[in-house]
């Protein structure tokens, strides 16, 4: 296990200490708990608070999207573990400015239950809470069973768009509406080449052969669609992109934003080689690309692999996507 760590059990807390130390004035924490990350700024009266949460090991997910035009807070769990309902509640209370709090998080059992509990507790304290659960991995459940799908890198788009809407002091119902629209308009599929190691476990959670890949694998090593010999970059895109496109389906004339996400160890060079093929195929399908995001947006520590997410835009989503945003992990100027 070749990692820059001290004691494995301190992995998450030391990482957060580093993050808080590195970005003073940007990120702070609530309830004296380092795992209750909040944006360090004056609350804006009437702005809906947006919170997320989830396991560690996915930087910049989740806490990396706490920032201007993005999220207001994040409850941080252990590696690949949900944070507790109590921590979510702390974040909720810290970011509520009276306009309510929207939870946006991925479709995983532990997270759902804890956010549900947190929502119940928050409501007892008279904070209006709404929830949007992201699940867009087409490999994780067939069409028709969309509600079973895992949430992966596409959640970035939901954060971005909900964050922009909240910044305009929209009501919680409006922010929820655009978040749900984004959810409905995004699809993702990924490929894993190597596993990663949870520090406390000290060994890989699954094994892939020297020349194997798994199409559709989840970001914690959940099973995908099939395992087979590693193919060429173009062949991989030829295989996954049509599955994404036919699912929504995306159609001739559509305008989209494309996210090519690295899972951790895969270099940017390779992400661009993958994007090159996506670009060609979309052009062939007469689908136009408004904006690309290429890099690490949702990782599994040192896992090698990548995913492609496509967001179908309409006027409203495009306008919200174009807004500036700024966090220690993500910067965007007005497009």
């Amino acid at each position: 296990m070749k990692k820059f760590i001290n004691e494995p059990i301190h992995f998450v807390d030391e990482m957060i200490e580093g993050i808080i130390g590195a970005h003073p004035g940007k990120l702070g924490y609530a309830a004296n708990d380092l795992r209750c990350i909040i944006k360090e700024c004056n609350k804006i009266k009437g702005k809906v608070g947006i919170a997320t949460g989830g396991g560690s090991g996915h930087l910049p997910l989740f806490l990396g999207y706490v920032g201007d035009g993005l999220l207001d807070g994040c409850a941080v769990g252990g590696v690949f573990q949900s944070p507790s309902a109590e921590q979510m509640l702390h974040v909720t209370k810290a970011i509520d400015s009276g306009a309510g709090v929207l939870y946006i998080y991925g479709n995983y059992g532990g997270d759902i239950m804890n956010f549900d509990m947190a929502a119940e507790m928050a409501e007892m304290e008279n904070i209006k809470v709404e929830q949007v659960i992201a699940g867009e991995d087409v490999a994780s459940a067939p069409k028709g069973e969309e509600r079973k799908r895992r949430g992966v890198a596409g959640i970035f788009f939901i954060y971005k768009i909900a964050g922009a809407m909240a910044n305009e002091l929209a009501t919680i119902d409006e922010v929820k509406r655009v978040a749900e629209k984004t959810c409905a308009n995004v699809r993702t599929m990924g490929v894993a080449l190597t596993p990663c190691i949870v520090p406390e476990a000290g060994r890989p959670s699954f094994i892939l052969g020297e020349n194997e890949m798994e199409i559709g694998m989840g970001i914690h090593g959940e099973p995908g669609i099939h395992r087979g010999p590693l193919k060429k970059a173009d062949e991989i895109i030829n295989e996954i992109l049509p599955q994404i496109l036919s699912d929504l389906p995306y159609k001739k004339g559509d305008e989209v934003s494309v996210l090519v996400n690295g899972l951790g160890a895969t270099p940017k060079e390779e992400l661009y080689i993958l994007y090159r093929r996506v670009h060609h195929l979309l052009k062939q399908e007469d689908i136009s690309v408004y904006k690309t995001y290429i890099g690490e947006f949702a990782t599994s520590m040192e896992m090698a692999g990548a995913s492609v997410s496509i967001l179908k835009l309409d006027g409203e989503l495009k306008r919200l996507l174009s807004k500036p945003a700024s966090s220690p992990f993500f910067e965007q100027t007005q497009l």
Binding site: F80, S82, G109, G110, M113, S140, S205, G218, P223
Partner: protein
């Protein structure tokens, strides 16, 4: 029949469960690894270490409050799926208990019933979904049955434990509907549900206590 469990007994049961989870840590990891993320052994030892720590240090004498607070300690220490579900179970189960200082077989049945219902509500799951419910529900039914037939507390616990052991094996044939295991769809058939095993091990804690005290 004056036989019953007071707060001290419950604390002792929790310590039994903690020891069992510690001993079965790697077994639970392996079970969860087969169709999950392999953390179950880690989270369950964390959960019951926290539960035990709370229980051994509290002066609480109300079984109801003791069990609810145990649930809260677990929620904080182990917010994984199973940790959260069990925490919910303890909280809802504890809340349902009416008895002031001593709980009998009937109360125990009520506790498990509310425990089970709490998990079903929280997890939006039902019997047959290949979850811990498939062990908790037979336990509940068995306890109610024993209480109705005026069995002794120790008899009732023993019966429920045996039934839980069988129930775990019965999960093998089921198809997973929730959590990571659900991604395996048909391939989940033929494998024992990890969470159900936790339900059985909790029952085993009661059984061990009952064996050595009654």
């Amino acid at each position: 029949m004056t036989e019953g469990l007071n707060a001290e007994d419950i604390k002792s049961i929790i310590s039994h469960i903690k020891n069992i989870m510690d001993g079965q840590r790697d077994y639970l990891i392996d079970l969860d690894n087969a169709m999950g993320d392999g953390d179950l052994g880690i989270t369950m030892t964390k959960a019951f270490t926290a539960a035990n720590e709370y229980a051994q240090n509290t002066a609480e004498i109300s079984p109801s409050k003791l069990l609810m607070a145990t649930g809260m300690a677990i929620a904080k220490a182990a917010p994984s799926t199973m940790g959260t579900l069990i925490a919910t179970g303890f909280m809802k189960g504890g809340k349902a208990i009416q008895a002031a200082e001593q709980i009998g077989l009937k109360d125990l049945a009520v506790f498990f019933e509310a425990f089970t219902q709490g998990i079903m509500d929280r997890g939006k799951s039902k019997p047959g979904d290949k979850t811990i419910i498939d062990v908790l529900q037979p336990i509940t039914l068995s306890l109610h049955h024993s209480a109705k037939n005026d069995k002794s507390l120790s008899e009732g616990i023993t019966d429920a434990f045996y039934i839980s052991q069988q129930a775990v094996l019965d999960t093998i044939q089921l198809k997973a509907q929730h959590g990571r295991a659900a991604y395996y769809q048909e391939a989940s058939i033929g494998k024992q549900d990890a969470g159900s095993t936790v339900g059985m091990l909790i029952m085993k804690g009661l059984y061990q206590f009952s064996k050595s005290n009654f």
